[in-house]
Amino acid sequence: MKNFSEFLAMGGYAVYVWSAYGLTLVVLGWNALAPGRRERALERQLAARPERRSA
């Protein structure tokens, strides 16, 4: 690797290599964030329920 643009070019395979990494990043990012968001929403929703006496 001589310089950065050569690194980005990936020996002519840039489109394939970077789309593979980009796609993986999107899916990992979604799996990192979505469950946490769902948890917060669920906790808010359950906490807002009317109190019931029975356990």
């Binding site: 990936m10 395979y13 290599v17 990992l28 469950p35 948890e39 906790e43 906490a47 356990a55």
Partner: protein
């Protein structure tokens, strides 16, 4: 030992433990990702046959391994829920499905992006690719079952049966490159011989595989907490927990 297992099998204890563990696991996986990416994208030399395109291996192979590992976790958890009525089994199986589907999708898509420049085609209907596609359908079928059946226990039972039957697909995926002639290259790491890959390429691959694995457990813990809250929403401890969260 069984006592301890039983303790964490109880959703309340698991929920508490999971809240402590998941941030650490996300952190550890981030460090491993950085190390693996530096090794894989910068330090490892280009492949003598495949040039720079081989670097797709560092996202393709870990997600493919994980797609199968996650399935085994899902099927074992489902079986535990089905046979011994372990509630955490049902919960873990449900939490696995979206993760497994994601990683199967990544394995298929990155494989396709690798196949185009190397084989000249995005897709072939050969044994390895087709059995991995069936794995995706198994996950999607499981998810569809969960949302189609209203009663949680019934949904978990139906899903567990599907997951256990689908286990037959896992050895088919693994051995497909040996049993049938295929465009897909054979195993280079998971075989009894010495791995046929240079150390400078192998170490980043193992780092990435470990990163994916730890990330999987981190994300699984958060998903499992959501499932626990939904399963246990009418219990006293969930009410107490939510009240505590609200005050904080």
């Amino acid at each position: 030992m069984f006592e301890r297992f039983h303790q964490y099998a109880a959703p309340m204890h698991f929920h508490r433990l999971s809240r402590k563990l998941s941030p650490w696991l996300f952190g550890i996986s981030a460090v491993l990702f950085v190390a693996g990416l530096v090794g894989g994208l910068i330090l490892a030399p280009a492949d003598y046959q495949q040039g720079e395109s081989f670097r797709i291996i560092y996202v393709h192979v870990p997600s493919a391994w994980l797609s199968m590992f996650c399935y085994m976790v899902m099927a074992s958890a489902g079986a535990a829920g089905l046979i011994w009525k372990v509630k955490m089994g049902d919960i873990m199986a449900r939490a696995c499905a979206p993760l497994g589907a994601s990683f199967t999708f990544v394995a298929l898509a990155t494989g396709s992006l690798w196949g185009k420049p190397m084989w000249g085609t995005w897709w072939v209907w050969d044994a390895r690719l087709t059995s991995e596609l069936i794995l995706l359908f198994l996950y999607l079928g499981y998810i569809a079952l969960q949302s189609a059946i209203e009663d949680r226990r019934a949904a978990a039972r139906a899903g567990a049966v599907l997951a256990v039957v689908g286990v037959v697909n896992i050895p088919i995926i693994h051995y497909s490159v040996e049993w049938w002639s295929t465009l897909h290259q054979g195993a280079t790491v998971t075989k009894f011989d010495k791995p046929s890959i240079d150390v400078s390429m192998l170490i980043p691959l193992l780092l990435m595989a470990l990163a994916f694995q730890v990330f999987f457990f981190a994300s699984l813990l958060v998903r499992a907490r959501c499932e626990i809250l939904e399963f246990e929403q009418h219990t006293a401890w969930v009410r107490d927990y939510l009240r505590g969260r609200h005050k904080a």
